[in-house]
């Protein structure tokens, strides 16, 4: 959608190139660069937020600048940038016995998996790179793409810890895709569309028109999706793939420097995607909570991002409160609890729409 608009606009403003394929390339590259910026800024903000949130929960102050000389800015706000600079300047180590090609490829595959999911996120009424009519299906499909990268990273490192981490994450992410998908099915049943913008249009109105409050079943669906989302982003209590007290670093044990930071970048990009989908599907997307007020395009971005940040905060809250589950318990929760509940939920939503819809 944005690509088409951009292409038309470029055609008009640069008449001597109109109809040229070069313009189409620009029209594709500009949003891509914008999204890369969004992901980078997202990671910088979220890493800082994570440090500060965890610090406040643990009775610490977190990163703080002293105000003299080289320091991390007021309240340590430049800490993430300092970290990034450090990571860039670090030595790039590839273990001798690692599978070189796969080892180099793995972080990029994971990053691509997170990146291509972001293009279907609606940041505003017209601020969406690709408004596909199967948007939500597309996101579900490509977000499991990153698993390949995780397995590759675990396998190619030629390290037993990495192998364990890679295998664990493969099992975990593939399992949790299912309850996540099933809980989104309830949303699709209610709205009758797979398009991200279509789902948001369905929820127009105030806070009580949001799908999460539209029926008790959709509320349950939201909870299931959120739990599965935490598991898909590999965060505590589901962080068994990188459980540092057991597996040292899990699949990224052997990675360092910029390669390692790509795992980090994609973890936070994944959080953006998972929470973005949750906001779109259950919390009214870029719609204002008060019907008829604050509903302009600028406010749309504000609402979308602030809703995401609220969910991100809950994720951080959970992470710094709970211990970690064991592998079999993790699978139990998915297959014995979440999946049956999600299935019953679909049935419940069906009945609900039949009776009240």
């Amino acid at each position: 959608m944005t690509v088409d608009l951009l292409y038309d606009w470029l055609n008009e403003t640069i008449p001597f190139l109109s109809g040229n394929d070069l313009l189409l390339l620009f029209a594709i590259l500009i949003p891509a660069l914008m999204l890369f910026l969004v992901i980078a800024v997202n990671a910088i903000v979220l890493v800082y937020a994570e440090r500060k949130v965890s610090a406040f929960m643990q009775d610490r102050v977190g990163p703080m600048g002293q105000g003299v000389g080289l320091h991390a800015g007021k309240w340590g706000m430049l800490q993430t940038i300092a970290d990034a600079l450090k990571l860039i300047s670090k030595e790039d180590i590839i273990p001798k016995l690692a599978d070189r090609k796969l080892f180099i490829m793995a972080p990029f595959i994971i990053f691509v998996g997170a990146f291509i999911a972001v293009i279907a996120l609606p940041f505003g009424e017209s601020l969406i790179v690709a408004d596909m009519n199967i948007g939500i299906f597309y996101i579900l499909a490509v977000s499991s793409f990153g698993v390949i990268g995780l397995i590759l990273a675990g396998w190619s490192s030629n390290n037993k810890w990495s192998l364990y981490g890679g295998m664990r994450s493969a099992a975990q992410i593939i399992s949790y895709e299912i309850p996540a998908g099933l809980s989104l099915v309830t949303v699709i049943m209610l709205t009758g569309t797979l398009s991200m913008q279509g789902i948001i249009q369905y929820q127009s109105g105030g806070i009580f028109d949001w799908i999460v409050f539209s029926s008790p079943f959709s509320f349950i669906a939201f909870i299931i999706y959120f739990i599965a989302g935490i598991a898909e982003t590999n965060r505590t209590p589901f962080d068994i793939p990188e459980a540092e007290s057991e597996l040292v670093g899990g699949f990224h044990t052997e990675y360092s420097g910029m390669r390692w930071s790509f795992f980090f970048l994609s973890e936070y990009a994944n959080m953006l995607v998972v929470n973005g989908v949750a906001v779109t599907a259950f919390l009214g997307g870029w719609q204002s909570p008060i019907s008829g007020y604050f509903n302009t395009a600028g406010w749309g971005i504000f609402w979308f991002i602030s809703k995401i940040l609220v969910l991100v905060f809950v994720m951080m809250w959970v992470r710094w409160t709970f211990p970690r589950l064991r592998v079999d318990q993790l699978m139990d929760i998915c297959w014995k609890y979440l999946l049956p509940i999600a299935l019953m939920n679909i049935f419940g939503v069906g009945l609900w729409t039949l009776i009240f819809g």
């Binding site: 929960m57 643990q58 505590t236 459980a243 007290s245 709970f322 970690r324």
Partner: protein, 373 residues
Amino acid sequence: MGVIHGEEMVLNIGPQHPSTHGVLRLKVKTDGEVVSDIYPVIGYLHRSFEKHCENVTYEQVVPYTDRCDYIASMNNNLGYAVTVEELMGIEVPEKVEYIRIIVAEFNRIASHLLALGTYGLDVGAFTPFLYMFRDRERILDMFEMVCGARLLYNYIWVGGVSHDLPKGFVETAYQFLDYFEPQVTEYNNLLTYNKIFVERTADVGVLPPDVAINYGVTGPNLRASGVKWDIRKDEPYSIYDKFDFDVPVGQGELGTIGDCWDRYWVRMREIEESVKILRQALKGLPKDGDVHQAIPKKIRPPKGSIYKRTESPRGDLAYYITSDGKPKPYRLKMRSPAFTSLSVLNKISKGWMLSDVIAILGSLDIVLGEIDR
């Protein structure tokens, strides 16, 4: 389809690993996630403690005992001092006895806080660890007040203590206890009764009482298996017989008796009991008295040998000293409680998953400085 037989993989945990509590190395035979055999390799921190002791005078042994169980140095000092005093027949003033009990029990709280905090870390909970370290820090500050050191105190000497308690110590101690007692409830809310924590630890790594006794496991690990055995009660040394306190034992409240959760819970209860002892000791502490008066000018125990055990936070800590009447011990042997606790690891963690092995190891609360000596 038949059963698929995978290949067993030998996993080398440590000596550099986040949760081996020091430089322990575990050779773990795994079938997928399930562990079939564990072979602990020790000795990475061996410093010849016992041989060193044969070449230094009795006074000079005290700093070495600090470095054995570096988490509970006061208790190590106390055990050694009590042993040599009994060999020489020294009576120490009442004030010294009270000071010793106070610092030893404070050290027990500090040690258990570290054990519980890192145990939380082992099962993935980061925040309780920092909460407990925050409180442990205040105890270390008090030790700094007392003797200037924060980890290796060299405080309890044969026949006395190195310094008298500083001015304002008793008030600080009372302030800490008033602050600390409600904190235990906070730990319980945050970690002990957390559903995930209970799932991870209850019924895991059960240590039956008979196995525990056969292997010589002592301290909280033995008490968690339901055996009421505490040297402070059963073979009182120093003036522990003057105080009124309970010996908590594992009751299998949320699982089986002797599981990881019980071992955790016994330590938590012992913290409360230590607070009880501390309140009594601070109340009974004599105001006047010289802490140096009983320190002998020359320590030359008569010929003979002695085996004396005391209750360190990890169990029966015993010293065996043989004296030939010279200023240096002829032979000094230390019985370390963590060593016997570690020996039971293979027995109780076979068949559990890799994550459980980490949880079981953490629940045994080992300190490598004491195992390797």
